[in-house]
């Protein structure tokens, strides 16, 4: 997903847009930016500084600076939860653990090599069950007796899931088992950082109440989830952008800025 967050000088969020990334990063960056500006009803020139982050950060033509997602993420999470010491981010293709103190990133662990323990795990398996990912959370809460998924690998977990189904196990119990599986995989990784409170869970998977509960149970500490768990990185980028702008202003330096212009979008479908 591609996210845009626009904040004002009081750190208030003025516009949020989330759209699918797709294969054309540059195209998508223009599209979401256009939508964010329309949403807020301001011309592009009013944006003082623009920071891009994430895997596709070099593909944002109008970004004045690129900052890594870990730095932005730490900043964004700390803004929502100033006491955060451990942030767990479970995205669609990777999972990260961040150790944070006073809003600064101290250390991190990451998995982007294996689909297990990422949103992809749930995506693949919910598709096999014929259930929308968005419904997994509420369904798992109805589980009476959750199953144990012993395989780590997504492919092997799929087989295990099918054999549970053929034994007549309820879908709710299986989904609850899948949530435990993803939680235990991610928490095992994050434990390498020594988990300390406050613990914050973000990323698309944090929208799944079943996973939030499973992580809470596995960690044994309260888990905080921001109102919009997808935008922590973009929010952090906006906050860092504001700092850069204000610092330059204070020192009377001129910041180099890209042209405030959206490229003509090229689509394949015309």
């Amino acid at each position: 997903m591609t996210k845009v967050v626009i904040i004002d000088m009081d750190d208030a969020i003025r516009s949020v847009i989330i759209g699918p990334t797709g294969p054309e990063h540059r195209h998508q960056a223009n599209e979401v930016m256009k939508a964010a500006l329309e949403n807020m009803q301001v011309p592009f020139e009013r944006i003082e500084y623009c920071v891009a982050t994430g895997y596709g950060r070099i593909n944002v033509p109008f970004a004045d600076r690129q900052i890594t997602e870990l730095t932005c993420h730490a900043r964004g999470v700390a803004h929502s939860f100033p006491g955060v010491r451990t942030a767990i981010d479970i995205g669609g293709q990777d999972a990260k653990g961040l150790k944070i103190k006073d809003g600064k990133l101290l250390d991190f662990v990451m998995n982007d090599k294996c689909a297990a323990g990422t949103g992809r795990f749930l995506e693949v398996l919910s598709e096999k069950l014929g259930i929308a990912v968005e419904d997994l959370g509420s369904m798992s809460m109805k589980s009476q007796q959750k199953v144990t998924i012993s395989s780590t690998c997504t492919i092997f977990a799929e087989q295990e899931m099918i054999s549970y189904l053929s034994e007549g196990t309820s879908v709710e119990d299986i989904i609850a088992g899948l949530h435990d599986a993803i939680a235990s995989r991610v928490v095992r990784m994050v434990k390498r950082l020594k988990i300390e409170p406050d613990v914050v869970l973000t990323g698309g998977v944090a929208k799944n109440i079943g996973v939030v509960h499973a992580v809470q149970e596995t960690v044994g500490l309260d888990i905080h989830v921001p109102d919009n768990p997808l935008i922590s990185g973009a929010l952090g980028a906006a906050l860092l952008g504001k700092e850069i702008f204000l610092q330059a202003k204070e020192r009377n330096e001129t910041l180099e800025r890209k042209k405030r212009q959206l490229e003509d979008t090229v689509t394949f479908y015309t």
């Binding site: 294969p23 090599k113 689909a115 795990f121 690998c153 997504t154 492919i155 092997f156």
Partner: protein, 256 residues
Amino acid sequence: MAYSLGIDIGSVTSKGVIVDGNEIVAHTVIPSGMNYREAANRLRDDLREKSRISFEDIRSIASTGQGADRVEFSQKKIDNIRCCARGIRSVFESVKTVIDVQGQLSQVIRINEHGRVSGFVVSEKCAAGSGRFLQIIANILRVDLNDIGELSLRAQNPVTFTTGCAVFSESEAISRVSEGFSKEDILAGVHRSIANKISVLVDRIGMEQEVAITGGGGLDIGLIAAIEEKVGITLKVPDNPQIITALGAAIMAAEV
């Protein structure tokens, strides 16, 4: 006559071998399906028909593999690693290392000068090092598993997969297809990816020549070539790599 029977119930295929001493008299390979007990019974019927040997003439029966417990007519269960080692030594006397590539796992087995297993390492947590990975990609490319070896050897420009994960590689393969990469190049990329995983196993346990390949992976000449290139060896390939573990079980069944 005193024959003995070895049954290897694997997660994907089940194998049965009847031996007379060390000589193979009959063998068969069938899909395991969902019910291992049924697979064992089908193997028995299949062998009876193929060999025309009556079951009364079979003195000893041993079972191995994931479904070893489900073989009701088995007299003893033997660990699959010992069976594999024993089976390969009956075919190639001087083999010291076996690379066994199965449907759901890969393992490397070391054999000492007395023919005993001196060490082994198994990769079973991840589908990417096993035949399962090939199955997934063959499915996307709509090619028959039996054809992938030859196709792969014709690759001009093998694709590089960025992760070792079968799920992520599946999406990568789909992207490469839409970008116009050939089946050959994608398959060769998968073979290299599996060869990399196997080479990690080999590094962990070490190897001594000669080295043989067994399991369904031994039927795939593309995979064999990729492993040979990555590990820097020539692999000895038995005529029927899939039945080696069942063969070992059959030979050991007759021993007290």
